[in-house]
């Protein structure tokens, strides 16, 4: 595998406060292209705020975010999506009013896709949507993609989220607690999919609580505590780190 761009995503001294609470405190790190970076930390350590800042849903008070040499700190969220960063949400938020596969029509209508593939006819998008669903593990030729989204079980909804990201043909996918609410077997079945995504050239940043599975996928881990980076390195090193153990006292590995 060729060495990717070292500075694919660069955060420099990013800070964000809400009222008196510091959610992010001068946070800096870099992500190499085609890496899988895991971000862990307790509740309230700033993980979701970090995702929101990178993807433009929240603007930081100070600091910069650079993606592929371009500064994206102040760009609006939809522009950042169009540049190739896709994200999932912590609480699954599909479009309830639509059938499952129609969820993917929206990203397929975005300017990024129009630019990358040339605007297709209306009918083509339905077929592309169904193909995407198959790619993330929906059974082909079943009625499931046509069911109303609200009736799908949780595991399918998470896969739908991933499909929504993939529809944008992203270079970077940020997942926010993708494994939460899933059974062990459901999580295990997602891992090959995520490995396949990484092998196809996509960079992954995974914010997670389920450490065992994350450590199988990630090549690097960053530990956040109260908005600050307290440890960084390979999974084995993080597991052995005394400081991290202290934060997670009581957590089972």
């Amino acid at each position: 595998m060729a060495e990717g761009n070292r500075d694919f995503l660069v955060l420099t001294e990013v800070s964000k406060s809400f009222g008196g609470v510091k959610a992010l405190d001068r946070l800096s790190f870099t992500v190499r292209q085609n890496d899988v970076l895991g971000i862990i930390g307790l509740n309230g350590s700033g993980k979701t705020t970090l995702v929101n800042v990178i993807t433009g849903f929240i603007k930081p008070d100070s600091g910069t975010v650079r993606f592929q040499e371009k500064e994206i700190t102040r760009l609006p969220a939809h522009r950042i999506s169009q540049l190739g960063i896709a994200r999932t949400f912590q609480t699954v938020r599909p479009f309830h009013r639509l059938p499952a596969f129609k969820n993917l029509i929206i990203p397929l209508c975005s300017p990024r896709i129009k630019k990358l593939t040339g605007s297709g006819k209306w009918g083509d998008r339905d077929a592309v949507a169904l193909d995407l669903l198959e790619e993330v593990g929906f059974e082909r030729d079943s009625a499931i993609p046509f069911k109303p989204t609200a009736s799908l079980p949780h595991g399918y909804l998470r896969r739908l989220e991933l499909a929504r990201c993939l529809a944008l043909k992203p270079d970077l996918i940020i997942t926010d607690e993708l494994f939460s609410g899933l059974s062990n077997s459901e999580v295990t079945s997602l891992i090959p999919l995520l490995e396949k995504l990484q092998q196809s050239g996509i960079t992954l940043i995974m914010v997670e609580h389920r450490l065992r599975e994350l450590f199988k996928l990630a090549s690097r881990i960053i530990v956040l505590d109260r908005g600050r980076k307290v440890a960084e390195g390979e999974p084995q090193k993080i597991v052995a780190d005394a400081g991290v153990k202290e934060i997670y006292l009581g957590a089972e590995f």
């Binding site: 809400f18 009222g19 929101n52 849903f57 929240i58």
Partner: protein
């Protein structure tokens, strides 16, 4: 000229604060925006009038009964109606708005209009304050406003029920896990809010007369104070009342009586556009706007 303006502005601010307090409390605790608030206020006025003039009860007893009655109606409003649409904010708004409108229009239909219906002041006469004559009712308003704020502050910060209410306001699910019954708290909050509206009616209505038309005005003023000050902050209500109170008074003096409402409406708009969470509001960015 400055001193009378300062004093009248303070009075006007206190009037607004008393008007808005109930609405703020209800929303602050259970996130219920009670759009029937104005109707409850007017109903309180008429019920007090009824107890006073038809049942010939004493003023104190009439007011007390009207507060209890309206408080109960508020609690019933939640228990019977709002509980069914809990968690769907737009349905909550439509239901309370519709019920409030129905009540006000019913009053209008049955002839409760015009300036015939009044409540008497507690004590007639006036007192010079720094050389400016202020009647006892208005004085009482300012004092009562301050006392109520203090009492509410102590209640929400230092009593078990009050703290429970704040817990619900901050994180409903965590509070429920700690054993606090969210529906009971919501019923309590709507009832209390309604009771406070009735209290405000009893004190403020002697200043003019009980008018069905003012039902929607009351709602707008309450919303204005709460939005400008921040929907979850008692300090915000205080500051916003004074700000809007002074602004209203100045515009009425220099521009005309219609501007009292216009100022309130503009305050709502400007705040929602520039800073939706208000001056002291604590909503996180993502919750209030995209």
């Amino acid at each position: 000229m400055v001193l009378p303006l300062l004093i009248y502005g303070l009075i006007n601010g206190s009037i607004l604060a008393l008007t808005a307090l109930g609405f703020s409390l209800t929303y602050g605790i259970s996130r219920v925006a009670n759009f029937a608030y104005g109707a409850l206020y007017v109903l309180a006025g008429f019920s007090a009038w009824f107890f006073l003039n038809r049942l010939k009860l004493s003023l104190f007893l009439s007011l007390l009964l009207s507060i209890l009655l309206i408080g109960l109606i508020g609690a019933a409003l939640y228990r019977i109606a709002l509980i069914r649409v809990r968690g769907m904010p737009t349905s909550e708004i439509i239901v309370t708005f519709a019920l409030g409108t129905a009540a006000l229009e019913a009053l209008r239909f049955f002839g409760f209009l015009g300036s015939h219906y009044t409540l008497p002041a507690f004590y007639s006469g006036a007192l010079p304050v720094f050389g400016v004559p202020v009647d006892y009712q208005r004085l009482f308003i300012v004092i009562l406003g301050a006392v109520l704020f203090l009492a509410l502050w102590i209640f929400t910060h230092h009593t078990k029920t009050g703290l429970a209410m704040r817990a619900i306001a901050q994180d409903e699910q965590a509070a429920m896990m700690a054993g606090i019954d969210s529906d009971f708290m919501a019923t309590l909050s709507v009832g209390l809010g309604a009771g406070l509206a009735a209290l405000a009616a009893g004190i403020l209505l002697p200043l003019s007369y009980i008018a069905t038309e003012s039902g929607s005005n009351i709602l707008v003023y309450a919303i204005a104070v709460c939005i400008v000050g921040g929907l979850e902050s008692t300090t915000g209500v205080l500051v916003a009342s004074l700000l809007i109170g002074y602004a209203q008074m100045l515009s009425v003096i220099y521009l005309g009586p219609h501007y009292q409402m216009i100022v309130a409406l503009l305050a709502i708009l400007v705040t929602l556009i520039l800073r939706p969470s208000g001056i002291f509001g604590k909503h996180k960015e993502l919750e209030e706007r995209v």
